[in-house]
């Protein structure tokens, strides 16, 4: 194609990490298996075709072994997955069957491999089993690595990239991401993945713009095409026209100027105009995000989601494995506190290796603390790891999904058991850390005063609280319009929790998505909340908003809000009273 014929193409995906970047495309792999050609081969050609296949497997397998050897011991978590991959290269069902298919169908190796791997895929998908379904990913990744060598596309070594580029990939495996020299990457574009995928989280924590879930970007983009990645709105523009380029260049500059100005002021104390001090904390999930927590001047971690290690290892981690990770985070952030929320699974994060009974309503089922109390050995292991990590810095323990007093009493019994075990094992630990509960079930709001007798702090989880109080399945588009943080029921519930905590003299924080949106700040401030935990990147903006507001004014304002019955009216009131400050 001649340069001048390239036309501007706009693709809409998912914003994986905000920001705008403009640069040249660097394609990591383009063979979504759909591009594979099919052609017949003659009988005489069969042995040569089989050799070609065997050779591709050998090269791919050797390359894979080299990746394993190059990984340091700090990446030992990933080794399990990679070594399973190694075993798959010569698996009879994949390797043997492909050779057989070349012979019997007299067909090219690429097509035979595609056919066989798709047969395996459909066979595995028939089992309604999450573990097996995710093994399909492993098999497909191995088959794609072989395919890459068969089709002759040069196997690009991500580690060798030495110019600043925008990485375009079908998908990035943990092996890929561990090799990338991130300082060379301007942005990420992937066909697969979403906001919470491994690549998304890494991109976010390093503040690299990313657009994901584009389906076929790798087929539409050519190497060295000029790309605009708008990670804030999830848009990818290929070969932009001059006008588009110009306007995005301006937007990029404006975005970066805004980020810079926020960053410049983010170290300023978050104190309102009338002197009320706020504690702005970060939500995090992976150790890598510590960088982002520090860069955005968080005052600690208000919510450390602990599911990642369980999902990643695909088995229950041992106490020592958990301890090592927790200790690392606590030490890196010391003297700031890290709030460990114990395992919250089965609602929206199912452990594929746990064969659970099919639940009609998983969000209302055996999840979080309910699951942990039923499997105390898993719960104790985690609590012990947190107490041991607490000896190396500042930690807090946070229990999700508490819905009644009995549960918190049981939790405290489990904690006692964990302490006894630690004593018996002569391990170094610190159990004198604050114990808190998530307030995310409406029943907990109503009995908040009773619950307060057993804990040191509350943390309001608005995502679930909205879902449960409005009876909305968050992922159901039909009812998603009802999901609104400014709904009067939610605002009044938050008030009840803050009041209960005040009366019982315990701390209260908020850690849901609601806390990170500046629009909600006047109301939250007016309700008396002063500790908010959010996505680290939201902190500078919220900090700026805090400094522009007057706490006493918001209190008066919120008194009026509490009398309003419709969410739209509340939104209009916030706009009318605080629109200027919000838009500034």
């Amino acid at each position: 194609m001649v340069e001048s014929e390239k036309t501007e193409t706009v693709l809409k995906g998912i914003g994986g990490s905000p920001g705008i970047c403009i640069g040249k495309a660097y394609i990591v792999d383009r063979e979504g298996v759909d591009l594979i050609k099919r052609y017949p081969i003659s009988l005489e050609r069969v042995p040569a075709e089989i050799n070609r296949f065997k050779n591709a497997v050998k090269v791919a397998k050797d390359g894979h072994s080299a990746v394993i050897e190059s990984l340091g011991t700090d990446l030992s978590d990933q080794l399990g997955i990679l070594e399973t991959h190694l075993a798959l290269f010569k698996d009879k069902m994949l390797y043997g069957k492909t050779i057989e298919t070349i012979k019997t169908d007299m067909i090219n190796a690429e097509w035979a491999l595609k056919k066989v791997s798709h047969e395996i895929k459909s066979m595995f998908m028939k089992f309604n089993d999450e573990y097996l379904k995710s093994r399909v990913m492993d098999i497909m990744q191995v088959s794609e690595q072989v395919m890459r060598h068969l089709v002759g596309a040069q196997d690009i070594k991500i580690a060798d990239i030495n110019k600043r580029v925008i990485l375009v990939a079908h998908d990035l495996s943990p092996a890929d991401t561990s090799q990338i020299q991130l300082e060379h990457i301007k942005g990420f574009v992937t066909d697969r993945g979403g906001k919470d995928s491994h690549t998304g989280i890494i991109a976010k924590s390093l503040a690299i713009p990313a657009v994901m879930g584009l389906d076929n970007a790798t087929q539409l983009v050519e190497n060295d095409d000029i790309l605009i990645v708008d990670g804030s709105s999830g848009i990818l523009i290929i070969n932009p026209e001059e006008d588009t380029l110009f306007s995005y260049e301006e937007r990029r500059a404006a975005y970066e100027a805004q980020q810079a100005s926020l960053a410049r002021d983010s170290h300023l104390p978050a104190v309102t105009l009338d002197g009320v001090r706020f504690t702005l904390m970060a939500n995090m999930e992976m150790v890598e995000e510590v960088v982002s927590v520090r860069d955005n001047d968080a005052k600690g971690v208000g919510l450390f989601r602990t599911e990642f290690l369980y999902l990643y290892l695909k088995r229950f981690p041992s106490e020592d494995e958990l301890f090592e990770k927790y200790k690392e985070v606590v030490e890196l952030l010391t003297p700031m506190p890290v709030t460990f929320r114990t395992l919250d699974i089965n609602g929206d994060k199912v452990l594929p290796y746990m064969k659970t009974i099919e639940e009609e309503n998983p969000a209302l089922g055996l999840r979080a603390v309910r699951f942990c109390l039923q499997r105390p050995e898993i719960f104790i292991t985690q609590i012990k790891a947190v107490f041991r990590a607490a000896a190396f810095g500042k930690a807090k323990l946070l229990i999700p999904m508490i819905s009644c007093v009995e549960e918190i009493i049981q939790v405290r019994e489990v904690i006692e058991k964990a302490v006894q075990e630690l004593k018996g094992e002569n391990k170094i630990f610190n159990r004198d850390i604050p114990l808190g509960i998530m307030i995310e079930v409406p029943s907990a709001v109503i009995i908040a005063e009773d619950l307060a007798d057993y804990v040191d702090f509350f943390s309001i989880g608005t995502n679930d609280l909205i879902q449960y109080s409005m009876a909305i399945d968050r992922r159901n588009r039909q009812v998603a319009h009802l999901y609104h943080p400014m709904c009067p029921a939610l605002i009044r519930m938050v008030k009840m929790v803050v009041d209960a905590a005040g009366k019982k003299n315990i701390d209260v924080a908020m850690c849901g998505e609601m806390a990170g949106d500046p629009f909600n700040l006047p109301v939250l401030m007016g309700l008396g909340l002063t500790e908010l935990s959010m996505n680290p990147m939201s902190i500078p903006r919220i900090n700026q908003m805090v400094r522009r507001l007057n706490a006493h004014d918001t209190e008066e304002f919120t008194k009026n809000v509490l009398n309003i019955g419709r969410a739209v009216d509340i939104v209009a009131m916030v706009r009318e009273n605080y629109g200027d400050i919000l838009d500034k």
Binding site: G80, E83, T84, A87, K92, M123, L132, I139, R315, Y353
Partner: protein
Amino acid sequence: MESLTDMIRKVFVKNSLGLHARPAAMITRMAGKAEKTIWIVDGEKRADASSVIDILTLNAGKGTSLSIETESENDIDVLNDLAKFFESGFGEDGDG
């Protein structure tokens, strides 16, 4: 000549995660030493013990009763090693 029953071992999947990818990979390594094909059998389903993919399709969770079969008396040692490996719960569920 060994009798036919000597060439079969009855085993149970003992570990909580079931016969998942890691033990399957170990099994293929052990079965690779055999002269002939070793089969892992669950009722009518038969899996070639030298294939991770085939073993996974048994979808054998905790408590599944399986038999391991060989076609050659020279593979009895491999058969016994595999039975021991099942017996040990694949060396899992130890700590944590």
